[in-house]
Symmetry: C2
Subunit: 387 residues, 2 copies
Amino acid sequence: MGDFNESVVLDAIRRVPEGLSRVELAEATGLSAQTVSNICRRLLDHGLARETGKKSTGSGKPRTLLQVSPEARYALGVHLDPAVITYVVLDLLGRVVTHLRTPTPRVADPDETLAGISASVRRLVTESGVPRDRILGLGIAAPGPVDMAAGLVVDPPELEGWRRVPLRDYLAAETGLPVLLDKDVIAAAIAERWAGAATDTGNFLFFYLGTGSGMGLVVEDTVLRGVSGNAGEVGGLGAACTTRAMVDEAMQLGVLGHEFTPAGPRDAERGLVELSRIAEAPGGGDDSAKAGDIIDRWAVRVGRGVCAAATLVDAEMIVFGGPIWPHLQERFLRIIPDMVARSPFVKKIHPTAVTSTGVGEDVGAVGAACLVLDQTLSAQPRSLLLR
Amino acid sequence: MGDFNESVVLDAIRRVPEGLSRVELAEATGLSAQTVSNICRRLLDHGLARETGKKSTGSGKPRTLLQVSPEARYALGVHLDPAVITYVVLDLLGRVVTHLRTPTPRVADPDETLAGISASVRRLVTESGVPRDRILGLGIAAPGPVDMAAGLVVDPPELEGWRRVPLRDYLAAETGLPVLLDKDVIAAAIAERWAGAATDTGNFLFFYLGTGSGMGLVVEDTVLRGVSGNAGEVGGLGAACTTRAMVDEAMQLGVLGHEFTPAGPRDAERGLVELSRIAEAPGGGDDSAKAGDIIDRWAVRVGRGVCAAATLVDAEMIVFGGPIWPHLQERFLRIIPDMVARSPFVKKIHPTAVTSTGVGEDVGAVGAACLVLDQTLSAQPRSLLLR
């Protein structure tokens, strides 16, 4: 996709949907007028950008605006969750063009799941109607631990029978596309950065609540992956919050009957939906109060964890999301923003905002596709070493 | 100091003290033989590198080796600690050339302290005998919170009377040098990366134990500063460990007499030295056991904190250091490596090493000087945008 400066210009254009003039681009990037002009010519030639109307500047002649052409390129994203697999096609602006969901097979047989993913990716491409030669690549968001360098899913606690499964290379062979693999919480943070609540900050943490939980950390515009791609584990912070643990607690306290004993990740979510329904039941009595207390206690644990992490990395925003977030959102947001504001550890140098995902339920899959956009379109300093 | 690729080559040379040949440099950097050859010529012309003997390669003619010229440039570092101010001069290899210490004035008068620092910096330069035109700049490590953008020390708990003190700009005006300010724990981590225990890893955390405590985090070769330069707070992890808190506990438990009540940060350290002496006393009886227990309990708290942080950022090394580390080292290292190895959250994807600083007691001041080396000599992707 061209060179470093070209990526810098494209990135600047995409952040301003109404378009930027060449003069504004030179100001925004620090590049010379001549360099900007050459790069814009190439972007127009390759169809990545288009000219779109003029902007009057008061004095002088009106300036032509450039916008990204959203339909010039596409990225595919797959989120492998123990309960459900989500597929998306994104355009160049990070918007969802097509969307697909399939339940994750219950059998402890990765081969069957792999074959299913491969078939669904083909279906996704067909349904989207996107020309094959405009697809930049495929991103996968998988539960940790992963082996990022080798492209393996190592042994996620909720994916029975998965041991060092070569998900990345399998899908690369099956689809013929460049494939990237990342941990789900890291992908989700990238989605928030590209197309969600965190497009205006380079310092935030994303707390993911799904079958498992974890954090995606972005510090000074860098997504933290760590030495093996497994950054984001929150167990040590006491903030691990799984659907299953909440449902187990509700059964122990008699709020949920034992018919909710989860046989698998999908059942656990059914229990959680019921738990939040009981908690919010109008005029709800004892069980309702108990259900609310269970959720509130988890909110406090998660709140302590995000306070600790936000102070550790000096973040200015905390974003919550993931599949079970909609069921917890109301109570969590009654408790956690106050905890953050009152935390003696969140220093008074700057406020720390607490907010819901701007991407929604598909944040994992959107993040997976954003891995591709990010690697293809963002300025990658490493590429400079090779010239 | 030249361009991006020049920094990349210089960085590669400095990491191999015995020197590298041009062929090895091309391999190490991915740059073409011609580019490497041009850059080496410039480095030799500017005196930053020198040719030093030949290396036989078995076949072909022996290759000339290049080394960094350590005396080509120098950096100054100041560490403002509430108890003591440390000053160092580093050469281009990050080695301490000259070293100076003064007690931090007890008075709550930043002006007096600033004047003292300025005078000591002049003395340091004179004593070092380093030519003024070879000094790249001055780095300052200060207790947090800091306002990095504005160069201010904001209001550190142990520095009475300090409120938004413009330390950076004051020293820039007084010395005429470029001056950089960073939080002490962040500077310490940079020292470990440049010249200490972490030269071979880009994923580690440095736990600093001094008048205050905190962590410096390095993830994927990037030092984490956060949105305001205050990353590294460990209070939320329950791992805050101050000299004063340990001495207070020892007095409450009757292990130290009330003559150890700290009037200031320096007294607290006196109490800690006595506490560790009692703990290690041969055949020491009740008080000795109690003193040991106090230290061990702090080790467990700190151990939990580093486990949580190491997992959160997927680090492969934990380094301990700071002024009070020598007094705690023995007991802490009997406890914490086991905790890290047994932690369910430190995933089995890779081991996590626990080690002592390779820089020693001056780690804050060395880190401050390394800020200058780092900014001047390391490849800074941002510089690429301006050409």
